[in-house]
Symmetry: C2
Subunit: 705 residues, 2 copies
C-alpha cells in the first residue's frame, strides 16, 4: 500500500472490536453495515462474551483472529479503548477507527486518555481516525467499505468528503444519496487525535478516484500548514469548505482598529481565498458547487449563455448571474443567425435565448450546441419548465447530446417535478449537474468561475526587500513595555527600519520649544498630542493641523493642553509632536492584527475615519506575495480613489505595494508585534512614495501570548 492511510480506506480485512449482537446499538449497526454492504474481505466480530455475533463466529480478542487484520473499528466503552488499541498493536493491525466518545471533548481526564491512545497508535506505526467519530466509508466497488453506524450508502462518485461534526456528516450522507451526488470516500474526523484534515487533503491529493474535496470544518488545527497543503492541492483539484463558528469572531475583544475590523472569520476568509479554497455559506451550496466541479470543466471566464423555454426562470437566472459577478453577454451575430434559422419568430435569440414553450428536445440540442460553440460564451445554463407537450426525459437526453464534449461547463435547472426524476437521473449519468432553482445554478457557476480565475492567476512571489534593518526595529521594540503601545519615537524607529517614511517631527514638552521645532522642520506643520494612554487624539482636541507660523504653533500647543485640562486628563499629556504636514495625497490605511492561531493578518483600506465607518478593508494572512499586495489595492471598494477620482490626487500604487510587502516582512521578523495601524498612510503622486503620517504599534504582552 502506498500510504499508511490505505489501511484505513482500503483495508483487505476488518475487525469490529466490541461488535454487538444487538442491531440498534452502535457496534451492532457498524458490524451489520460492513457485512451487508458487501465488503469483499473478511469482517471479524470481536466480542468478549458472545461466541456468535449476527450469525458470524466471534473472537474474544483481536489476538484470537486467525488472519491478518488491516483495519480495526473500536466501539467498546471508553475505559476499554486503550487496552483494545494495545492488542491491535500487538496483532499488527495497521489502521484504527475509534467510534467511542468520552475523550478530549469531555475535559482534562478524557484528554489524557486520548493522548495515551495517540501515543499507542503512533508508537506502533498505526493510523487512527477519531476517537469520538461516526466512522468512514469508501464507495469504490472494489472496496465497498461502510464502517459507519449509519445505514446510508451514497452513490459512487468523485467527491471526497470529510466532516468534523458527526451529526453534519450523517445528514450529508443522506443528502448526497437523495440528490444522487457521487461520493468517493467519506470520513467523520471526530477529535482528530491522529489523522487531521490536512492529512486527508494530502491523501486525496493523489487519489485518482477523487475529483473534488469537500470539508466541513469547525476549527482549523494548523492554519499555516493547511494553507501550504491546500494551496498545493487546489492546483490539482478543487477544494470547497464550509467553515462554521463565525460567531467566535464576535466574542473577541479587540483594542485596535484592525482588530475590531478583522474578526477571526476574516482570517479564515483570507486564508481560504489565498489558498484557492472555495468557501460556501451553507452545506447546500457546498454540494451545489461540488456537483458542478466534479462533473464539468472549470469555466474559463465569467460570460454565461442562458437557454430556456420560459421567460420567468430566465429572468431569475440573469438576475442571479449578474448579482454574483457573472455577465450575460450578447451572442455573436453568427450564433444569432443560426438560432433564427430554426427557432420560431416569437423566440428570443438574444441572450437569454428563450425558445418559448413549443421548444422541442431537438431544438434544445441544436441551440445548446450553438451556444457552446459561441466564442462569446464561457458556460451555459439550460432552464426547462415542462410544458404539457414535451417530455422532460427527452429534453434531458437532448441536453446530454448537445452538451457533450464542448469543453465548457453546462448546468441545468429542470423546474417543477412531474416527470422530472427520470430526467434528472439521466442528466446525472451524463454528468450534467441539475439544480432545483435557477439561482442555485448561477451561484454554483459563479463559484466555479472564481476557482478558474484563481487557477489562471500567476502565483505570486515574496520578493526580497533590500535595506531592511530588523535588528534596529527589534531594539526599538525592546525599549517598549510588553503589552503596551510603543512611544511615537519607537514607532518611527520601527517603521524607518522597514523603510517606511514618516514625516519629519520633533517631540516637545512646552509651547516655546514647539514653536522652535516648527521653525527647524519648516512650515506648514501639525501639532499633535503625545500620550501613551490616549489613542484617539482628535476626540480630545489633541490635533491641530496646517499651522503656518511660529505663533500659531505656540497657540496650538497651549490649546491642546487646555483641552486636556478641561477633560481632567492633563496628566496623560506627555508633551506634543510637531510634525511636517504631508503633501496632498490619498489617505490609506495599513494595519496588522493577530488572529489567534492564524498568525498576523494584514489589512489595507481607505484611510482616515472611512476605515471605521465603511470598513472598506482587504485582508490577507501574512506572509503575502506581490500579487496578494496588488490584489489588496484592487479589492477595496474605494480603489477608484487611488487613481485620481473626481479631480483628486493619484496614489503611488507601487509604493503602496512595497509598503504592504515591508509590513508583511516586518511582522514575520518581529512576532512580538501584536497590533499595528498606520492611518493615514498618505500615498503621494506616482513615483513620490508614501508617508506614514500617524501610526501605532502594540507589542505583545507576556500574559497575552
Amino acid at each position: 500500500m502506498a500510504s499508511p492511510l490505505d489501511a484505513v480506506f482500503k483495508p483487505r480485512s476488518v475487525a469490529v472490536i466490541g461488535a454487538s449482537r444487538d442491531r440498534g446499538s452502535i457496534s451492532g449497526e457498524v458490524f451489520h453495515n460492513l457485512v451487508s454492504q458487501g465488503f469483499p474481505g473478511p469482517v471479524y466480530p470481536v466480542n468478549r462474551s458472545a461466541a456468535v455475533v449476527q450469525s458470524v463466529a466471534a473472537y474474544a480478542s483481536i489476538r484470537d483472529v486467525p488472519g491478518e487484520v488491516d483495519l480495526a473499528v473500536i466501539s467498546v466503552p471508553r475505559d476499554g479503548v486503550l487496552a483494545a488499541a494495545r492488542e491491535c498493536a500487538q496483532k499488527g493491525v495497521r489502521g484504527l477507527v475509534v467510534l467511542t466518545a468520552g475523550f478530549a471533548e469531555t475535559g482534562a481526564k478524557g484528554r489524557k486518555i486520548q493522548d495515551e491512545l495517540t501515543a499507542v497508535v503512533r508508537g506502533a506505526g498505526m493510523r487512527m481516525i477519531g476517537p469520538n467519530c461516526l466512522g468512514l466509508l469508501n464507495t469504490d466497488p472494489a472496496v465497498n467499505l461502510n464502517a459507519t453506524f449509519a445505514p446510508t450508502w451514497p452513490p459512487h462518485g468523485r467527491v471526497a468528503f470529510s466532516s468534523q461534526s458527526g451529526a453534519i456528516g450523517l445528514t450529508i450522507l443522506d443528502y448526497a444519496r437523495d440528490l444522487g451526488i457521487g461520493i468517493s470516500q467519506f470520513v467523520s474526523m471526530g477529535n482528530k487525535a491522529d489523522t487531521s484534515g490536512n492529512d486527508l487533503l494530502e491523501y486525496w491529493e493523489d487519489d485518482p478516484n477523487c475529483g473534488v474535496i469537500l470539508l466541513y470544518l469547525e476549527s482549523l488545527g494548523n492554519p499555516a500548514r493547511f494553507m501550504q497543503i491546500a494551496s498545493r492541492v487546489a492546483r490539482k483539484k478543487p477544494i470547497a469548505v464550509v467553515k462554521s463558528g463565525r460567531t467566535e469572531a464576535g466574542a473577541r475583544a479587540a483594542s485596535s482598529h484592525t482588530g475590531a475590523l478583522a474578526g477571526l472569520d476574516v482570517a479564515v476568509d483570507a486564508l481560504l481565498g489565498q489558498a484557492g479554497v472555495l468557501r460556501t455559506d451553507t452545506m447546500e451550496e457546498l454540494f451545489d458547487v461540488a456537483m458542478l466541479l466534479a462533473n464539468q470543466p472549470v469555466p474559463e471566464g465569467s460570460r454565461v449563455g442562458i437557454l430556456t423555454n420560459a421567460g420567468g426562470p430566465a429572468i431569475m437566472a440573469s438576475d442571479a448571474c449578474e448579482s454574483r459577478g457573472l455577465s450575460i453577454p450578447p451572442l455573436t451575430e453568427k450564433t444569432v443567425a443560426e438560432l433564427k434559422a430554426f427557432l420560431p419568430p416569437e423566440a428570443s435569440t438574444k441572450n437569454p435565448v428563450d425558445m418559448i414553450a413549443s421548444a422541442t428536445p431537438a431544438s434544445f440540442e441544436r441551440a445548446l450546441k450553438l451556444l457552446l460553440l459561441d466564442p462569446a460564451v464561457d458556460s451555459v445554463i439550460v432552464l426547462f419548465v415542462p410544458p404539457i407537450m414535451t417530455e422532460a426525459a427527452d429534453v434531458a437526453a437532448a441536453i446530454r447530446r448537445g452538451g457533450a464534449g464542448a469543453g465548457k461547463p453546462v448546468v441545468t435547472c429542470f423546474m417543477g417535478t412531474h416527470g422530472i426524476p427520470a430526467a434528472l437521473s439521466s442528466l446525472r449519468e451524463g454528468r450534467f449537474p441539475s439544480y432545483a432553482f435557477p439561482e442555485a445554478a448561477a451561484l454554483a457557476l459563479a463559484r466555479a468561475v472564481r476557482y478558474g480565475q484563481w487557477l489562471a492567476a500567476p502565483p505570486g512571489r515574496i520578493p526580497e526587500i533590500p535595506g531592511l534593518d530588523p535588528a534596529a526595529a527589534r531594539a526599538a521594540i525592546r525599549d517598549g513595555e510588553d503589552g503596551r503601545w510603543l512611544s511615537a519615537e519607537d514607532v518611527r524607529r520601527v517603521l524607518s527600519a522597514y523603510r517606511i517614511r514618516t514625516p519629519k517631527e520633533d517631540v516637545v514638552s512646552d509651547a516655546a520649544s514647539a514653536a522652535a521645532a516648527a521653525a527647524r522642520i519648516g512650515f506648514p506643520v501639525a501639532v499633535k498630542l503625545a500620550s501613551a494612554t490616549i489613542t484617539h487624539k482628535t476626540e480630545v482636541g489633541g490635533v491641530v493641523l496646517g499651522l503656518s507660523n511660529a505663533e500659531a504653533v505656540y497657540e496650538a500647543f497651549t490649546a491642546i493642553r487646555q483641552n486636556l485640562a478641561r477633560a481632567g486628563r492633563e496628566k496623560e499629556m506627555a508633551g506634543a509632536v510637531v510634525q511636517e504636514m504631508a503633501p496632498r495625497g490619498v489617505e490609506t490605511f495599513v494595519g496588522v492584527t493577530q488572529a489567534p492561531g492564524y498568525g498576523p493578518l494584514l489589512g489595507f483600506g481607505t484611510g482616515g475615519v472611512a476605515v471605521e465607518v465603511w470598513k472598506d478593508v482587504a485582508f490577507r494572512v501574512a506572509p503575502i506575495t506581490d500579487t496578494d499586495a496588488s490584489s489588496m489595492l484592487d479589492q477595496i471598494r474605494g480603489a477608484k480613489l487611488l487613481d485620481g477620482f473626481r479631480g483628486g490626487p493619484r496614489a503611488d500604487r507601487a509604493a503602496l505595494v512595497e509598503t504592504l510587502l515591508s509590513v508583511s516582512r516586518m511582522v514575520q521578523d518581529l512576532p512580538e508585534i501584536a497590533e499595528m495601524d498606520i492611518n493615514p498612510l498618505v500615498a503621494l503622486e506616482p513615483g513620490r512614495g508614501v508617508i506614514a503620517v500617524d501610526a501605532r504599534i502594540r507589542v505583545r504582552g507576556q500574559e497575552k501570548p
Copy 2:
C-alpha cells in the same frame, strides 16, 4: 357573493369553452382536472363539433347550456376568444379565465384584440383572469376548483399565491405539494388585462382562509396603488414577494449621481420596504418565510433560543442568525437552573442549549417549554439530528407538545432524512415549520422578525410644512429650459422656496468683481466655476476653497479661467460664483431621481465623494412620512458620522429630517423635476440647521416625459 371575483374563485358552476376530447391538449386537461378534482357543481364542456367530451354531454355554444354559469374557462384559438367572451356576456356568465395566448405579449395587433376583450368583459360587468395564463385553483374543500391544465393539487392551507409567470407558477405548485405547504388559492395572472395583482391583494385581504399572501412579480403595473393597498393589507396579514427582473436596472442610462446609484430595483426595494412587504431573493426563500408566517405567531423581537441534540448544526444556526441580525442571548438564570435540573452534566445549558445525542423526546419537550417561557427569548429554533436510539417521530410529537400555545414562534430543522418524513408530516399537522438546513430556518425567522418590527413601528405621518412657496419655485423652473440643468440662481430660488438654506453668494463675471463680492459677503469664501455644461467642477480645477482676503479671491478667479483655458473649455465658463464658506459640519447628500413608473425616489447619504465611492445611500419612494425620513438617517452605514464620530461635528438631525420632508413635498408639487442632487448638504450643530452648499436640479425634457 360579496365580491365580483367570487365568480372566479368560488363559482357554483363552470363551463370550459373549447373543451377538447383529447387528453394531453390544454383544453382537454383543464376539463379533466375540473371534473376529476371533484368540483361540486356542474362542469359543462362547450365544443362546437363534438357532442360528447370525455364522457360528458357537450354543448355547441355557451348559450345552449341549460343552467346558470358562474365561471367560463376559455381555451379556443385566439381569433375565437372575442366571440366566446361576447357569448358569455349574453349568457350572464360572471367570471372568465382566458388561457389562450397571442394577445398583448405578441405585439400591437394582439394588444388591440386584448383591449377589445377587456372592453367586452368590463361592459358586461364580468371579471377576467388572463389572457395568456395557466388558470387558477381553489383548494377549499367546499370548492375544489382546479381550473388549470397542470395535474398538481397542493394541500389545502392558508397561503394564497399569485404568479405573473405561468412557468414559475407551475413549478411552484409542484414545490408546494412536495414540501406539503398548504395553499388556499393560486392564480396565474397572465397579461393582467382585467384583474391585477392589486385586485388580488384586496380580494385576499378579507379572505379568512388566507393567512399569508405570496406574489411572484415581473413588473408592478401601478406602483403607487400597490403601495397604498399593500401597506394597508400588510397590517392584517403578511405579504411576501419575489420581484424578478433586477437587471432592467443596469440597462438604465442615468445622468445624475442619484440616478446612477438608484437602479429601478432600488425603487422596488424602497417601495416594498415602505409598504411592509417582505421581499425574498428566491422562490425557495419565499416559501420558507410563508411556512413560518402561515403557521406561527409573528416574533416580537430578534432574540432567538436554539435547542439542539448536536453541536455542529447549532453552530451553523448561530452563525446564520447573527449574520441576519438576530441575537442568541444568554438565558435567564432561572431557565438555566431548570435545564440543569434534568439535563446530563455534559449538556450545555447556555444558549444554544445542546442536550447532546442522548436527548430523549421528553427532554426536547421539557427544554422547549422552558425556552419559550424565558423572557429573554422571542423565538426558538429546534434542531434535531437523529441519533441511532431516538425516533424522529417521537421528537416531532414532543416538539408539538412543548411548543403548543406559547405565543412565540417555534421553527425546526430535522437534519438527515432516514425516518424523517413521518416526523415532518406530524410537525406540519401541528403547524410547526421544518427546514432542511439550519440556515434556512434562521433566514425565515429573520424575515419574520423584520415584519414584526414593521408592524410594531408607529405609522408615520406626512406633516404640513408651513411657509413653502411652490409658486415661486415653479416660476424659477419655468425660467429653465426643458431637459436641462437649472442655472445656479434658479436652483437657489427653488431651494429657498422650500426653505432649504443656501450659502450667501454672488455670481460674478470677472476677477475684480469676484473680489468685491467676497468683501460684501464676508470672508472666508469659496470661488466656484459657473457653467451650464460642466457639472463635476472639481475635476476641471473649478473650485477654490477657504479664501481669506480679496487678493486671494482675485487670484482664484484667474486660476479657474486659466484651468479651463488649458483644457480648451474656456467658452463653457459663465463666470464664477463667490460663496460664503459653510461653517464646519457633517457633509451629507440628498438626491432625487425619477424611477419610471415608481415616481420620484429620494436618497439620503453621506456627502462628498463618499456618496459615489461607498454608495452609502438610503432610498424611499416619495411622498415620505416623518418616520421614513428619520429611518433614512439611521439606515445609512455612516449614521455614526451624524453624532460626532471621533471628535467630529454633530449634525442637526431635526433639520435633516425637515429637509427630506421639504424635498419630498417639492417633488410632489413639481413633477417637472427630473433629478436633483444636493451634495454636500452640510448639517451644522444641532439647532443650527443645514446649508445646501452645492446643488443641481434638472427639469424634465418634453421628449422625456
